[in-house]
Symmetry: C2
Subunit: 269 residues, 2 copies
């Protein structure tokens, strides 16, 4: 029997080179256009931070995207800010060619067996089944998206154009193409793998790079598709706020995310 | 003519003691019970980070609350992660008695004159005028709140009890008691100065300390009251997510915030 190997694990694998230092080798297969997806860059960093935290699961991870990453070798440095009984807090960064690309600050904890004092959550967004949704690969984007060979993204048919004029929101299904189960690193990837919901309002106006992304991890997902809803809630000048909610196939909320992004209209450097 | 001096400025004043090091002296007048309000602890740290950033306004500031702070001297250390043309990114921490209390990571920018490519925002929550709302000071809390001598908090009459059994949300008005104008440091304070909305559902079950708070600064407020809406959107085990939205008196969204908190029921250490 051969051991199952998944692309996401192979292509974000960590090599520990010091107490709190790791190396990884990024590939171009998770790109959107010429840049690696932000969640893909985050995956090895988040995993290294988790290892240093002394706790099994991420709880809240904030990442600032300082410069675009690229395929090739990367170094990861982590500092433990505090290891508590319930929460471990760590800082970390992903460095390429001597320059910090991502700077993160996160709290780690244990998400297993969450017996709650109250039943408060967010109901899953209403979506047709995946087979009635539209592959993101089929949508005219004007940009090459190698990422879509790694993850399957199925967009709500009502959100499946980028002509603009609609409410700035998008919903759909997402999973790994090779059947890899979904864990916390995958949720960070999935929180940033749909088209910017602002395109639903404005059409494909340019590039909307993430300045800061915070992912809140709520529960461990069951096997299957992840259901996502993404909405731009505020635009002030060139800075937008986008909220993401992710549910597992049973309809349980597994993560929330919010990002602050910059609108770079085509032609703007 | 005497110069106007405000309590919030006097009681969060910074003394620079190195290139990226400051001292401040915290007072107990901003306490909720025996602990200083989290936004009060953040105010001098956020201001120091802003000074180091090379940009006039905070854009997105994430703070992890590692240990409670207390009245008395505090040291602030800041590291500049990156100074860009549009965004400056800095790390910072507030230290008391040699122990880090708050660890922050923030992006700073310029919020002036935000000419937007699209009109997308969040409408203000519906609220009776401040004079028809209920002073938080008048609500039975079972805990002393010196903070309420520093800020006026007026709660929506429909949210003005802590018996539980309602939807976990609260809305109301807030301003400084001494008429100080509202700036970004004040918005961080106001984002965490209302009762936990979970009390509306469960009654006053204990203490809900913040693990992590991210404030997104959207626009500079006009003079007057700030209108706030606070909702607990998810409870998983002992960890909650609470969303806050703040509008100025003209109804313009000025900040959004999200925090991950821990439910410590009475009797739990």
């Amino acid at each position: 029997m051969s051991r199952v190997s998944y692309q996401f694990d192979d292509e974000t694998a960590l090599e520990q080179v010091g107490e709190h230092r790791w190396r990884t080798h990024l590939v171009a297969d998770w790109n959107i256009g010429v840049n690696p997806n932000g969640g893909y860059l985050l995956a090895p960093l988040q995993r290294a931070m988790g290892q240093a935290s002394g706790h099994p699961d991420p709880l809240s991870v904030t990442t600032h995207y300082l410069r675009p990453g690229s395929a090739g070798p990367a170094e990861i440095e982590v500092e433990v800010v505090r290891t508590g009984r319930t929460i471990g807090t760590v800082r970390g960064r992903l460095i390429q060619d001597g320059k910090t690309r991502l700077e993160s600050l996160g709290a780690f904890s244990d998400l297993a067996n969450p017996v709650s004092v109250a039943t408060v959550s967010i109901d899953p967004v209403d979506l047709p089944p995946p087979e009635e949704c539209v592959s993101r690969a089929a949508l005219a984007q004007g940009v090459e998206i190698p990422l879509l060979n790694r993850v399957e993204v199925r967009v709500h048919p009502d959100h499946a154009d980028a002509q603009g004029g609609r409410s700035p929101e998008i919903s759909g299904w997402i999973r790994f193409s090779d059947g890899r189960p979904v864990d916390a690193a995958a949720l960070s990837l999935f929180a940033d793998a749909f088209p910017p919901p602002l395109f639903a309002l404005l059409g494909r106006i340019g590039w909307v790079p993430t300045i800061e992304l915070t992912v809140q991890f709520r529960r461990q997902p069951v096997e299957g598709w992840i259901r996502g809803h993404f909405a731009t809630t505020d635009v002030a000048g060139t800075k937008t706020i986008e909220d993401a909610m992710l549910w597992d196939e049973s309809g349980t909320l597994v993560a929330q995310a919010r990002q602050c992004s910059l609108i770079l209209q085509d032609g703007t450097p």
